[in-house]
């Protein structure tokens, strides 16, 4: 911290014009960097929206794809929409209770050493590449017995778990200790204090974290490639068989040579993107409101 010498020749007054120029260049670059980041988002969103718009019709969500079609009959990606709803729903059912329990244990029960240790594990788990999670579930469950929607959901749940746990810990920390102490002081056991005082207070933040986690995994392709991707074209809702999903469908269509496939990929991508952006912006808005409410300010 003290290694940088502020009293050096850098502060000489006779070089002030030059120093000001450097400062202007650097400030200009920072403005430019922010503008570029936003421009990239704008270009990507605009590309998806403008190219997806023409193919955006009811057939996309109500009609199944036609295999090897040479006809111009309308086809959609209904199977992918059904599959994404089932798989993401199941993944949330798996990850949410476990994630909340992990957070409750770490914040309410665990001694500091375990808290730090498992906290590190959660960060490491969050850093495991999604494709590796896909391969892991392939070796653990798919190899030998085949793919299914529920195995895909399990892979997504692994990605959701650290996310939900971290989000829950962050709100549990905000719940004032005076609430816990008041409850315990009245003779309420700790388990009841946790379940009926602490968690209800944190529920808003948990919902926000869950919405963010759902938005994140709804667009995940990699964990599903090896667990739920070998599918037919019929639309079904049965998680014991492999289900098509929107991200996997986009991935496959993007590698096709047929421009009509690209159009469907853009359209499905547009719906996915609108869902994800809507969910994350709503969650952000809720989060700022909740943080104030939880702390009782």
């Amino acid at each position: 911290m003290s290694t940088h010498d502020l009293s050096g020749p850098g502060l000489r007054l006779d070089r002030l014009p030059r120093r000001r120029r450097v400062n202007h260049v650097m400030e200009g670059f920072a403005w430019l960097a922010a503008a570029i980041a936003i421009a990239i988002l704008g270009i990507v969103v605009w590309s998806v929206a403008s190219k997806g718009w023409s193919e955006l019709n009811l057939d996309l969500v109500t009609k199944s794809p036609i295999p090897f079609s040479l006809t111009n009959a309308p086809q959609g990606l209904a199977n992918a929409f059904a599959g994404t709803i089932v798989i993401v729903g199941l993944a949330t059912l798996m990850a949410l209770p476990v994630g909340i329990l992990v957070a409750v244990y770490l914040n309410e029960f665990a001694p500091p050493a375990i808290r730090n240790g498992v906290g590190l594990v959660l960060d490491v788990l969050a850093g495991v590449p999604a494709i590796v999670v896909g391969i892991f579930v392939f070796v653990l469950l798919v190899s030998g017995s085949g793919q299914s929607g529920i195995k895909g959901a399990f892979a997504l749940a692994i990605l959701m778990l650290p996310f939900v746990a971290r989000a829950t810990i962050e709100v549990l920390v905000l719940v004032p200790n005076s609430l816990r102490e008041a409850s315990l002081g009245l003779g309420v056991p700790q388990w009841r204090t946790t379940l009926s005082i602490v968690l209800p207070r944190a529920i808003g933040g948990i919902v926000t974290g869950t919405v963010l986690a759902v938005a994140r995994v709804a667009g995940e392709t990699a964990p599903l490639l090896f667990t739920s991707s070998v599918v037919g074209t019929q639309t079904h809702w049965d998680p014991s068989q492999a289900l098509q999903t929107i991200p996997v469908a986009i991935f496959e269509l993007s590698e096709s040579a047929d421009p009509k496939d690209h159009a469907r990929a853009w359209a499905a991508g547009f719906i996915l993107l609108v869902f994800i952006l809507f969910a994350s912006l709503t969650a952000r808005w809720l989060a700022t409101r909740n943080a104030r409410k939880i702390a009782g300010r």
Binding site: L41, V128, P129, G219, T221, A222, P247, S254
Partner: protein, 330 residues
């Protein structure tokens, strides 16, 4: 147990502070089991990848990691991770190199320059960029960015800087390592930017004001106070970004084009560990090939674990020294 039971129990027997309550034990056991499960899961991931790749592990040993080969023809089978490891290192390194100045610039803009009215919306937009799914960035990369780079940027860079082997002749296919680098840079920019922003925010304002009061320009203040103060955290942010770039499979698969060779030109096609695995999802023809693909996953897992643990270690050390809040999710 109903609320009435709990109340009745506590009114009859005054709280002694030592009585073990059944409900407490159950909740602690269940919640503790969940935490233990998460820990076991990480171990299980490592073990299952070792288990799944043992055919290739026992046949090739560690030589697999550096060998440049991927020949699935039965009878001539030979596999190695060399070219994919090279592709992973070169794409993620250049992506980080490209993204870092912009990410730091965005973070400085948000903490030092932006008018108050711009701060919240720009933060939200930058984080929205991080929320765009990789398959959509890849779709845009293959259909919009790739063709644009091939017709405009690549020939120009080749003619201007072609004497450097990195900038070889553009490939005919449109897919290239260069496109993958740009796509990865776009994906890690918001991550590095948001962690850096948290770090810069943690710099005590009295230090910054002190420097400005000494007559520094704003940039001299950033260079003399903000950067040295946040140095450790920035290193961690960059390592996390690098780990993220190495692990990204989908978008890279869509734009990189594939191929088993080490080529110095970033305009040629290639493959990374992640993209080779993702591109082979429709199945392997032999058990040895399947085991080799899982071995690739194991190499990728080790790389990302090393990066993540190093970053977390730095973050925790810096947090202890400064008392700064943790910067973002890994």
């Amino acid at each position: 147990m109903s609320a009435a039971d709990a109340t009745a129990g506590t009114t009859r027997r005054p709280f002694t502070g030592r009585r073990v309550r059944f409900g407490d034990v159950v909740l602690q056991l269940v919640a503790g089991a969940a935490a233990l499960g998460a820990t076991v899961l990480v171990g299980l991931i490592v073990w299952k990848l070792v288990d799944g790749s043992h055919l290739a592990l026992s046949k090739y040993g560690l030589g697999f990691v550096t060998r440049v080969a991927w020949n699935p023809v039965v009878g001539h089978e030979l596999y190695g991770a060399g070219s994919f490891l090279f592709g992973t290192v070169i794409t993620s390194f250049f992506a980080l190199l490209l993204a870092t100045p912009f990410a730091i610039g965005v973070a400085l803009f948000l903490t030092e320059l932006a008018p108050r009215a711009l701060q919240a919306p720009v933060t939200a937009l930058v984080e929205t960029l991080a929320a765009v799914p990789s398959v959509l960035i890849g779709l845009w990369g293959i259909l919009v960015l790739g063709p644009a780079l091939r017709t405009h940027i690549e020939p120009w860079l080749h003619s201007a800087l072609g004497f450097i082997p990195l900038f070889g002749p553009p490939s005919a296919a449109g897919a290239s390592i260069f496109t993958a680098i740009i796509v990865l840079a776009i994906m890690i920019l918001p991550i590095v930017a948001s962690i850096s922003r948290e770090l810069f925010r943690g710099v005590p304002s009295e230090l910054k004001e002190g420097a400005l009061a000494l007559g520094t320009t704003r940039w001299e203040m950033v260079r003399g106070v903000v950067f040295p103060y946040a140095r450790g955290g920035i290193a961690a942010a960059l390592i996390l970004g690098l780990g993220r770039a190495m692990g990204e499979a989908i978008a890279v698969t869509q734009v990189i084009g594939g191929g088993v060779f080490i080529h110095w030109s970033i305009f040629s096609t290639g493959d990374t560990l992640g993209s080779k695995i993702a591109a082979s999802y429709q199945g392997a023809s032999t058990n040895l090939q399947a085991a080799s693909l899982i071995y690739l996953g194991l190499v990728l897992l080790v790389l990302s674990l090393v990066a993540n643990i190093a970053a977390q270690w730095i973050v925790r050390r810096v947090a202890r020294r400064h008392g700064v809040t943790r910067g973002g999710h890994a």
